[in-house]
């Protein structure tokens, strides 16, 4: 039951009410600022191309299907609710496998397989061009699409040098066989791409564990362990060690985007 006094002061509470939404955020104190995170963590992935090639070749041989999906891709699709459609032109892909061959067959006629995924560039062109700041780079380096903001202009797809982004031409719900509650599904008319399994990363960080994206986990579990994920700001992490020991190649490094997916052992041992 409301008292008369309360009613009267509430007329004066106009000002207090106006800042209600602001209050919610004002009270939230960050135990760890963005700058601190930036100094502490930068996620990256290293791909051992020889192991990867070995794995895919084995699978192709086993199934006889030249378009077979290796464990990493399957895990990515399931984990992130990536829909599957028949039509290759509009089928969204977060992670996919590409076949490489050197231009000079006389030197090396062998084919290699590499996974292609979002490179989580240090200077991501997609973030530069996004109209609505829907694509953004988190302080820990992961580039994410905030689909609440995406308007589907597809400028980021044009700008991305790696073709890492997919547009939802159809309602993704139609192409889903099972659902992972941890990751939101996307709607028709927005752009999506690999997030380095940001939900897994955040959960692991909060629990103080080493984060492992789904593809990496699946690669180790079912594949040859070609993928390595970790924090390159930490010199002791596995990724740092591997990158120290090997010559790493970045895709289209000449553009200066500084991608954070590194390919090792390109062209064999």
């Amino acid at each position: 039951m409301m008292s008369r006094r309360k009613f009267l002061i509430l007329t004066g509470a106009v000002a207090a009410g106006a800042i209600l939404p602001a209050q919610i955020s004002a009270k939230t104190q960050f135990v760890e600022t963005a700058e601190e995170v930036r100094a502490k963590r930068r996620w990256a992935m290293a791909v051992d191309v020889s192991k990867c090639t070995e794995c895919v070749k084995e699978l192709v041989a086993k199934t006889g299907n030249p378009e077979v999906k290796p464990p990493c891709v399957v895990a990515c699709d399931r984990e992130n609710n990536v829909p599957e459609f028949e039509d290759k032109r509009i089928d969204p892909q977060w992670m996919r496998i590409a076949k490489l061959k050197l231009n000079k067959p006389s030197v090396n006629p062998e084919e290699f397989y590499i996974p292609l995924l979002c490179n989580h560039c240090e200077h991501p062109p997609c973030v530069q061009v996004c109209l609505t700041q829907a694509s953004f780079q988190r302080p820990d380096g992961i580039v994410v699409v905030d689909i609440h903001r995406c308007i589907g202009c597809r400028y980021c797809m044009i700008a991305c040098p790696y073709g890492a982004r997919s547009f939802n031409f159809r309602d993704p719900m139609e192409g889903l066989k099972e659902v992972n509650p941890e990751v939101p599904m996307r709607a028709e008319g927005v752009v999506e791409k690999c997030t380095f399994c940001a939900h897994r990363v955040d959960k692991a960080v909060a629990e103080g564990k080493e984060p492992v994206p789904a593809c990496v986990e699946a690669c180790h579990l079912y594949g040859k362990g070609a993928l390595t994920f970790g924090n390159i700001k930490d010199p002791n992490s596995k990724v740092s060690q591997i990158l120290r020991d090997n010559l790493a190649v970045q895709l289209r490094a000449n553009l200066g985007t500084d991608p954070h997916v590194f390919y090792l052992k390109l062209g064999g041992e």
Binding site: M1, M2, R4, K6, F7, L10, T11, A13, V14, G17, A18, L20, H148
Partner: protein
């Protein structure tokens, strides 16, 4: 206590005043006679078959019932007369279009319509899908939470524009009476308080709908109990709206009903095809003046100039004309 007073008693009174008041005004107008058929003709009449009438003429100078109805509908839905608005310049030959008033008027009235349709969600159960569809279309769905309804903001803007006309244009300032400002301020207060509830001080809308549902079925004790739980900011909006309802029938806002009665618009221009009968002089055998009019107890009666009187008065001249067999020929020089 406040809940009962503002949440129960006031709305009942306001609705009663509104409904009875509007009916009273309509009946009151209908009680007056329409002595003459006086449409304002804004275009070519229906006349000889070779005189072309354009579609605009049909609506501006209607001849049939349908054309008249069309004229009224265009008037009501598109404010067609205001659309003809021009402004006169003393120093120029030409006149310019000045349709701002039309634009602001349309903006306000259609926003109001949308706002009212959206408010029907508080009265109708289940909420009709077209109401939801309209709300979704006008809101930037998903961009702002809560949704931002364009009509809700546009109506405030339009009211301010209409009010600024009255404040800043010297001619309009001269014309405006306090009641004109008052109506605008009242509407502004309602719309602004509505927007405040929507975007800043949230009220529990579910309780609001429950309150209204209980009021509708006269479940007063339940309504009063619910009314007490609703946030006070709601009552600012609600009370003002109730006041508007009660104020409506007795103010110029009644133009909403009056526009249907305008004799210059709702009559066809078919005087020559259908005779209009004056209800208070249905059989005019002789002019009223010759029957005499009574003012303050005294009767003033004019003499009737019928042919016989006339003939008596000018007998010689008329006879002379008759002698010439009613024919005039030029005089032989």
């Amino acid at each position: 206590m406040i809940g009962i007073l503002f949440g129960v008693i006031v709305p009942y009174i306001a609705v009663a005043i509104f409904v009875l008041g509007v009916i009273y005004r309509i009946v009151n107008w209908a009680n007056s006679a329409v002595p003459l058929k006086i449409p304002t003709t804004g275009g070519q009449q229906k006349s000889l078959p070779f005189i072309k009438r354009t579609i605009y003429d049909r609506f501006d100078s209607p001849y049939t019932w349908w054309e008249t109805a069309g004229r009224m509908l265009l008037e009501i839905f598109f404010f067609r007369s205001l659309l003809k608005n021009t402004r006169y310049y003393l120093d120029r030959v030409s006149q310019k279009d000045a349709r701002w008033l039309w634009l602001f008027g349309i903006l306000f009235h259609y926003s109001l319509l949308l706002v009212l349709i959206r408010h029907s969600r508080f009265f109708l159960q289940p909420v009709p899908s077209f109401v939801e569809m309209l709300s979704d279309i006008e809101a930037f769905k998903g961009v702002f939470i809560p949704q931002v309804y364009i009509s809700g903001l546009a109506i405030v803007a339009a009211l301010f524009l209409l009010w600024f006309r009255r404040i800043f244009l010297s001619r309009e300032r001269t014309l405006s009476l306090p009641s004109d400002h008052f109506a605008l301020i009242l509407l502004l207060a309602i719309t602004i308080s509505g927007n405040l509830i929507r975007y800043f001080f949230k009220a529990n809308l579910e309780l609001v709908k429950e309150l209204l549902a209980n009021l509708m079925i006269f479940n007063i004790s339940k309504a009063a109990a619910i009314a007490d739980q609703i946030e006070p900011i709601f009552y600012v909006h609600f009370l003002l709206a109730c006041f508007l309802l009660a104020y409506f029938p007795f103010s110029k806002l009644m133009h909403a009903g009056g526009v249907f009665f305008t004799p210059t618009r709702n009559m066809p221009n078919d005087n020559r095809a259908r005779r209009h009968v004056n209800p208070w002089d249905p059989e005019p055998t002789a002019p009223i003046f010759t029957k005499g009019i009574t003012v303050a107890g005294r009767t003033f009666k004019s003499k009737k100039l019928d042919w016989d009187t006339y003939y008596e008065m000018y007998r010689d001249q008329l006879d002379e004309i008759a002698e010439g067999d009613y024919m005039i020929v030029p005089e032989e020089l």
